[in-house]
């Protein structure tokens, strides 16, 4: 029984450790701003990890498929009803994350008798100009990390990793390499490099420093040889209100650098 505050804190700490272990094997996801929009990239063997949420919002996720699915459906339902009752312009990622998803995930995480959400989510919302783009990461405990919500200078990218080490190294890499006005093929290359950095940093024996270019590209080539690329874009100047477009594997591979 959990009677004292101390026990609760201990239970939460155990739960956190358990969830971190469960998420540790997740294939990283990179979302980078480029000249004409925002690009999501990951590599995966088993299942889809990048999704369309609404006209201008996309989501990447790692975690348990059942939990990702519940959160994904909740996000789509909320965005769709808001877009229906008011307008597509009133659907906002900031509100979706802060007022709906985060409280639910926090509550599930802290109610130690119920199951938490084994999921870590990465959202991006495309605005009418790069200044209005929003990147937002939502963790299993409801914690939010955003790029574009405050007056802070923008990075215009965000990453999702199974482990803290993996995510931090990807961010470090992108801070150095990311170019905000790159064309799509260049953005794909940088995002795939970032993914490789994140992949190499996974596990206990993972790299702790950004690997050299040769090592990185060798690893990337090996991974690409037997894994499908999953990529999607949110396009700024699309004729349609729906900005989300899935990039086919061949379309992505055609622009790859050696």
């Amino acid at each position: 029984m959990i009677e004292e505050p101390y026990r609760w804190v201990e239970a939460i700490a155990n739960r956190r450790e358990y969830i971190e272990t469960q998420l540790a094997a997740g294939s990283p996801i990179a979302a980078v701003g480029y000249r004409d929009g925002i690009l999501f990239v990951t590599l995966g063997r088993a299942r889809q990890k990048i999704f369309e949420i609404y006209d201008r919002i996309a989501m990447g996720a790692i975690g348990h498929p059942g939990d990702i699915e519940r959160l994904r459906l909740a996000a789509i339902e909320l965005a769709s009803t808001e877009g229906f009752t008011r307008s597509a312009a009133d659907v906002s990622l900031r509100r979706l994350a802060h007022y709906s998803l985060s409280p639910v995930m926090k509550a599930a995480f802290e109610q130690v008798y119920g199951p938490p959400y084994l999921a870590r989510l990465l959202f991006a919302e495309i605005g009418s100009s790069p200044k209005e783009d929003l990147f937002l990461r939502l963790d299993y405990d409801g914690a939010i990390a955003a790029d574009g919500l405050t007056a802070q200078p923008r990075q215009r990218f965000a990453v999702l990793g199974g482990t803290r080490q993996s995510a931090e190294l990807m961010e470090k890499f992108l801070q150095k390499e990311h170019v905000t006005d790159a064309v799509l093929p260049d953005a794909v290359n940088i995002a795939l490099d970032a993914w490789s950095v994140g992949r190499m940093a996974m596990g206990e024996n993972g790299t702790k420093e950004i690997p050299g270019r040769d090592v990185l590209r060798k690893h990337r080539g090996e991974q690409l040889a037997n894994t499908a690329i999953e990529a999607a874009v949110l396009e700024r100047d699309s004729k349609s209100a729906i900005r989300y477009r899935i990039l086919a594997d061949e379309e992505v591979r055609s622009g790859l650098q050696k």
């Binding site: 949420i53 519940r70 909740a74 339902e77």
Partner: protein
Amino acid sequence: MDKPPLVLDPNFSGASEDFPAVLRRKGLLQIAPEPTAAIGSHSFVPTESTTILAFKFAGGVLVAGDRRATAGNTVVFDRADKVLEIDRHSIMAIAGVPATAWEMARVLEHSFQYFRRTQLQEMSVDGKVRALSKLLRDNFGFVMQGVGVVVPIFATYDWNSKPEARLYFYDAMGAQFEVTDYAATGSGSPAVRGILYYKNSWGDKKLKELNEDEAIAIALRALDTAAEADTSTGGVDRGGKIFPLIKIVSRDGITTLPEAKIAGVFKQSVA
């Protein structure tokens, strides 16, 4: 979030609820009363609007509608849009009460997108056609009360096994009829059907063989003829330079014809 959207789903589908059901659960979609006999006195005159047509031609399906909205004998509006884009390849054109029709179009548009986003696949053409049918059936209570009749045309492009344009018309209860050549509904439709039948049977070319300019000319002539005898149909307003709205569904999606283009064909072949 008032209720988790997926608790235990016996159908193995996140969307055992379709989007209208989600809206009803949240109290966001008005539910029509049970169909009963019409209310005796029709003191309330709803805004209505009429004459839409669609036919297949060489470049896909052309859908056209006049711009007039009326309430009884009063012209309410002369720039109403009755040809509505539902998704990249689907158009719903409406005759009847615009308030109900626009709401229906909105529900339909969101339903298709909701399905694609939740189920990670495009809804089939049959599914889309059926979705509109269900909305019409759900609305029938209002129709019987004399306040919400909608009789739409639905045009879309089917990407499946045999890629081709598809065209349907509906009755107010929701029955759908697939047509091979043309469809027209609204108060001015008898004249339009006459013209399209005549043209298709004994014209120089079948409707399906017309090029874009020829198709536009036929659509304009048909709407002008309908407006000649029907006060609810705007036809072409020569003084105000208000032209019908014409959209084309083809393999590449939907094209809305610019007014200048329609005006050009009108000047050359109709006026």
